[in-house]
Symmetry: C2
Subunit: 518 residues, 2 copies
């Protein structure tokens, strides 16, 4: 099943690496036919080449929109070489075999990133290219297809190994890569058009991933894993720059994303630090003084912080860097590390340091995969402001309590459900996360607060990610010394819950917005 190649069709938008291919084609006396710009390039490099229009006897028309969409091209590619009827038709219609197809497509992806105008995007939708690629890939038994310059080295190697021919294995692999390429290409176009048309969910929705990196392993060592980027116009989480340290692991990515989401829910004029472990924050603090923001976040649960991901929404300086090096962390994540801080962090060779551009508030979809099913939903980007609060108790929260309530609520949004977060002075005192009952999360939050901040509990505030189904969860908070509560409200038992707060002289506000995170 080794196929000798006599004739090759080349049509490439990007000429990178083409010279080496031309040289190998010449070496094996492979005839070249080509189109427009590629034809000119090949001739300039002094290789023999004929124009596709002389091969088809049909002119290139409509500004190049139609040049290769011709039966002589597609017949040349698609005919089954051992099929006698096909071969008679080839002869009758004077069609010659095309054995090798080398194409790369109009750069739709680059134009997407350059954000060119709509009409230019449309002109960069390649029609002829994908058609030839798909024809050649379908007929991989007879034809070799090269859908990207990434595969030139493999082609050259293959031709050298097989004396100007290719193996079936190679052709099959390239056919596979070709459909990966055309699927990806059309997925970019489809999703771009949907954005233009403001269509969020369509009957058929394809998600185009480009491999960024193969990871050492997945969530656990016995699982393989890779990280992919979804190509689109927006900047987002994959817009990270690793400044130093070991390769990011699968779980580093998970924790870093949660850390990044949490700190970016705060305004850039508020300095916030969060420490994430096993996908949950174990401490978070807001402070005008960046160092204090870090130290207060760490104090939230110094035990769990070990080996965690520390995230900031501000540039970190040498003072913070020094303090960071006193502990063991897996990842530090921030918009920027200043030069002095960089050299301090460099002492911890394994520590991964990531810088990120402060993102615009883009609206992303989030997906959850469950085998062959996936859920696609809006990201939870809603941020509760003071104006959204409805005070439901006789006691009203003070101005400083309101500030703390909003802080607690914003952290709570990033804690796995059931979530209870106790705060005081813009720092977390206790976080109860991931429990199957709300009262269970309340108790955990209380225990952390009692253990780590015995002197600061009195007058603290607490947030719940969903309503209290009964007064019990609330009561353990009140017993602890919490003075003000923020929660969505909406339970049929709201009346009981409000009564319990009123009885204790505690204030409570409803947000109307649930923040489950599963």
């Amino acid at each position: 099943m080794i196929n000798k190649i006599s004739r090759c069709l080349i049509s490439v938008s990007d000429k990178t690496g083409l010279d080496a291919v031309l040289e190998i084609l010449k070496k094996f006396n492979i005839e070249i036919i080509s189109t427009g710009g590629t034809y000119k390039y090949i001739k300039e490099k002094n290789y023999d080449c004929s124009e596709i229009s002389s091969y088809t006897n049909f002119p290139e028309i409509l500004d190049g929109r139609v040049k290769t969409l011709h039966p002589k091209v597609h017949g040349g590619i698609l005919n089954i070489r051992h099929n006698k009827i096909h071969q008679k038709q080839m002869k009758d219609n004077k069609i010659q075999n095309i054995d090798l197809v080398i194409i790369n497509l109009y750069p739709f992806e680059n134009k997407l990133k350059e954000k060119v105008i709509f009409e230019d995007m449309i002109e960069n939708i390649d029609i002829g290219g994908p058609s030839m690629l798909r024809s050649a890939a379908k007929n991989f038994n007879n034809v070799t297809v090269i859908p990207s310059s990434n595969f030139y080295d493999q082609l050259i190697n293959e031709l050298n190994t097989n004396n100007g021919a290719t193996s079936l294995d190679f052709r099959k692999t390239m056919a596979n890569e070709t459909f990966n390429e055309t699927a990806f290409y059309d997925s970019l176009i489809a999703n771009w058009m949907s954005n233009q048309n403001n269509i969020k969910f369509s009957q058929k929705k394809t998600i185009p991933g480009r491999l960024i990196q193969k990871l050492r392993y997945g969530e656990n060592p016995h699982q393989e894993s890779c990280v992919f980027e979804i190509v689109n116009e927006n900047k987002g989480f994959s817009n990270l720059k690793q400044v130093q340290g070991k390769e990011l692991s699968h779980n580093n990515y998970l924790d870093s994303f949660n850390a990044y989401s949490l700190v970016n829910d705060f305004n850039v004029n508020e300095k916030v630090c969060a420490i994430i472990k096993h996908n949950n924050p174990c401490g978070c603090a807001l402070n005008d003084n960046g160092l204090l923001a870090y130290q207060n976040a760490l104090a939230g649960d110094p035990t769990s912080a070990f080996g965690g991901v520390v995230a900031f929404n501000f540039e970190i300086n040498e003072e913070i860097a020094s303090k960071l090096t006193e502990k063991f962390y897996e990842v530090v994540l921030c918009p920027k590390v200043n030069d002095k801080a960089k050299s301090i962090l460099a002492a911890k060779k394994n520590l991964r340091v990531l810088e990120y551009d402060l993102p615009k508030k883009n609206h992303y979809l989030s997906a959850t995969f469950m085998q062959k099913t996936f859920l696609l939903q809006d990201e939870n980007i809603f941020l509760t402001k003071e104006k959204d609060l409805k005070i439901v108790t006789k006691t009203k929260p003070t101005t400083s309590e309101i500030k703390n309530l909003l802080f607690a609520n914003q952290v709570c949004k990033h804690v796995k459900s059931n979530a209870i977060v106790i705060c005081n002075k813009n720092k977390t005192l206790g976080i109860g996360c991931g429990q199957t009952s709300r009262v269970g999360s309340s108790k955990i939050a209380c225990e952390y607060a009692k253990k780590n901040f015995p002197g600061e509990i009195l007058g603290s505030t607490a947030a719940s990610d969903a309503f209290f189904p009964f007064a019990d969860g609330l009561e353990s908070l009140i017993k602890l010394g919490v003075k003000s509560i923020i929660q969505p409200g909406g339970s049929i038992k709201d009346k009981d819950v409000i009564e319990a707060a009123d009885k204790a002289g505690v204030s409570m506000v409803f947000t109307g917005i649930r923040n489950f995170k599963h």
Copy 2:
């Protein structure tokens, strides 16, 4: 920008609904050109139609592999109607406009589900169809494209509304749907080929989703959500049949998937029941008696079970159904509900009852999305068996302890990290989940066990999803009365942890397999 339609090209693999389209085309005197089977169908229905080969003056060749790949077809579609150069070239080359393109593709997806042989799959890769669809979609300013019979009603309505023409909005929407369609089509082919070639991760990986259902809302009421199916050969989670009850919510799907994964990790000859709440099991039990399996699972945490998802790996009968109706659950999930049980469950109108085919052990990839980045990894399908265990303590576990250890370990795999599960007699006594520290999870598991099973703690077993970093988490389990421990091992402190077990006369086994779940 309303475009009058003079000429239409039709090439459809599936003829469903075509008659109504033919009637409307006739009504507005739209000329039809067509190919092979579609041409025959149209003529049999007594509509005027000309063959594409007489339009192109080129025969259909290579068993239909080449029939529409012709400049007269693509020029007819792609020319810009207001461009004078284009129009001169159209005239010079005797090309007529094609204003409407109605195509559905070779049924690659159906063939995938029918699992036909490789060669038939290849023959069902459509080449001409996607080329014309893409040409027409690119030129949506001038051309109307209909990529599926799903849009026939909209086309008919549009033509009636605009007196035989179409609006720009409609053409743009259809262009969008066309790229959704071609991206999806090539993604199916690419992923099928990758499966054939045993390639798990490629440089470009496109995930094809087909909308199953728009949900009322997402994880929270202010988020929109839809559920999609990834089309492939395998049966999997979306292979569910809803027997009764309200529409599934986003969070029902999440919980149901975790419930399904957990119970399907057990053999069909072992009856297991699990109750899931907020994505974590709150109780799980194995028993030859199905009713006891349910009752023991419920006893694990009756408070959290309220509003949970109950899953079984066996058919449920009237006895179990009666007991289920005594409580409030959101979802019941099992391979089958017998007829008597069905009528009993029917009394709870809102209760969602799902049946599923027992899946073959397929190997899926699981994905986690983080804005424009996603992690793709193997599902954690590894199941630890007795032969995998390494006893590391002086005290050896008894035969019955080993059975309980394996049970605890298997449940623990489905609990969010850090996870500690205490079991006795094949049921969970306490589950510590989702904590940022292991000692935290140990304490929670102990508290549940003490509260719900004070009489059964002594002699119980416990599983940890990852190694104990220190002896502290272990010590709280020993203090509770746990007699045997299962964990991956691998900490630099393993020696201390083993010593602590030895000192207490507790047995411990290492699995070598970590089971993080984030």
